[in-house]
Subunit: 422 residues, 2 copies
Amino acid sequence: MTLLEECDSGTPPFIKEAAEKEPVSPEKLTRLVKNGHVVIPRNKIHDPIPKPIGRNLKVKINVNIGTSENQVDLQKELEKVKIAERYGADTVMDLSTGGDVDRIRRKIIRSTDIPVGTVPIYQCGLKKAREGAVVEMTSDDIFNSIRKHADDGVDFVTVHCGVTKKSVDSLKESQRLTDVVSRGGSFLTAWILHNQEENPLYSEFDYLLEIAKEYDLTLSLGDGFRPGSINDATDRPQIQELITLGELVKKCREEKVQAMVEGPGHVPIDQISTNVKIQKELCHGAPFYVLGPLVTDFAPGYDHIVGAIGGAIAAYEGADFLCYVTPAEHLGLPDTDDVKEGIIASRIAAHAADIARGVDQDIDRNISQARKELDWERMFDNVVDFDKAKKSREEKNVSEDETCSMCGDVCAFKILEEYLNL
Amino acid sequence: MTLLEECDSGTPPFIKEAAEKEPVSPEKLTRLVKNGHVVIPRNKIHDPIPKPIGRNLKVKINVNIGTSENQVDLQKELEKVKIAERYGADTVMDLSTGGDVDRIRRKIIRSTDIPVGTVPIYQCGLKKAREGAVVEMTSDDIFNSIRKHADDGVDFVTVHCGVTKKSVDSLKESQRLTDVVSRGGSFLTAWILHNQEENPLYSEFDYLLEIAKEYDLTLSLGDGFRPGSINDATDRPQIQELITLGELVKKCREEKVQAMVEGPGHVPIDQISTNVKIQKELCHGAPFYVLGPLVTDFAPGYDHIVGAIGGAIAAYEGADFLCYVTPAEHLGLPDTDDVKEGIIASRIAAHAADIARGVDQDIDRNISQARKELDWERMFDNVVDFDKAKKSREEKNVSEDETCSMCGDVCAFKILEEYLNL
């Protein structure tokens, strides 16, 4: 039985466990899963820690890892998984495209208890691209890659089902600056244009649902036409695809398959709220998984900050799941340091949205209480990165100092402590 | 004549120059300055580059520098000024509290053409604190320190005129977690509590206006009761003080002295818009100069990111001037690396707000056009940090590669280039 089928006869144990760390009861969480407003990725084979994603819950973050053609080092990828777990990632996606990707994927899945996602079309597209041309993929190649990933225990997969003949037409008619920046989206756009046929992930969606149901795989409906520049945000190709994804969400629910929807991308601050609201409407309240959003194109090297701004706003407006962005975005493959920086920035965005939505405010209260008492150790115990805070304090201060080197002897807390209780 | 007096007889040359880089005409900018919705700090003695701050203009950023008790190195402070100019700071504030602060201030003012601000009460408060107790400052000490800074050519000063007996009462009655975190605010709160007298900066505000008028000094009305934790945001002491600052803004205008108003501080995302709107209402449209805002207390070591999130939202909602926050915030005095990180984060926030408000969108368009064409050099010429982008690309890629190591041979732009024009 899929998790959605289990929900028909009460509250499944997996959902009871999931509710423990959330601001909702197990019964309410079951209702949210049943109506598709929450997903809890879980492949029967992997059986990960439950990480519920969606309405009324804490904002979750995903960490992309993986090799590329010229950078293949399994140990490094496994180290990235450890960093992801340590700094509070809720899920990881293995996007490996270099080396023995089957082995790498299996090792990653076995190394962690948090849900793992993949984008199966990368593997079959790359194989064809390296043998000749990506457009030579067959429908079987595509579905077999998804089945293989599911069989390895992957908990959720990105599937670009909304890249259709119709949306490709709307792309061609548009005045887009950066056409297609989604890798999977570009494979399928090229495939449709070359073969003049419909995307199998759309035309044979029922078959995809069969595979998903067999493994209880959560579908993450990818946005192949997400805007890749501020100029292209919220344009017709993007919204055309979103309409299609909304239709597919309904089909998933009918078949008791969990589904979420992916979103932009590059979006200016003034359009983020609109993007979240239109996704929630067109996709019938399905969880919204956003990449960034990136609120400017002008900061390569700092896109983790750009993504934290967009992610915090999106999450506050109702996005449920933030895909992290690293400082390496738009420049190259992230190394372990980039991964850490990306996770922290994304955690800050998620937590800032949580507290603005009334959740986890006691974390900040405890830190500020400790700060006022100049109890540095107790403060650091609760912060996003204990190591950096502690190291920075040690470097910037003399160890005997009770206060810090910013104000020294004229610390506002010390001065007020003396006079406020007169 | 002060700039405001000059405005009575047409458009002053200083405002004509200021309008060149703004999306408004010189005439409109003159009207904005006249009605107090824009300030252009300029001490007659310093005569800096015009950096107009306020409604309808590009968002500006300030960079705090300065020594502290145990970290005194003039060369380092001058280096920080150069970094500030290089990465796009609009103003610097010298907050030095260690070493020969008079000499340091004068050297900093002479080293730069952008406006310089200070917080004069630091100097007189520290002197008294080190001689005995900060509460022994006299009214003369306070005003003489302001006059000295003005006489050195400082273009704007923070003056905590809103810390009054009334607001201190409201603080004592409140359930604040972190009382007072503003250094100047803590000096004056202690002073009022100890001496049981009114804050001279409030009771003798007319004298302050005389000094300001003499030098054409812009007053930045400080928020001594800015919230220092998420818990304290938008509480009565903060708003009580803001009401007072709004009254003082009117007095400034009557005397033809330019004034802006400082704001929080620690504010959760859901309260930022309210904070901007209430400041604009209570302070009659005076420019709003915000510190952060910091949208969570839980990220010491990363407060530049926390401040970038809050700053971007605040600026989009109408704040005019962002005080940068560095990774060293809450931990110690920032070094030159921290200063650079802080400026970049703040520039990202300001620019993201600008493009969301319809200004400078061509910067992002040009970058994205270059990105699509894989013209890395042209892209980097337009980004916030040329050096980091270039270095990162060199480190993460083989130099002959046209694409990058993220996608390598399956670059979406390359694939689409081949098939989209079929």
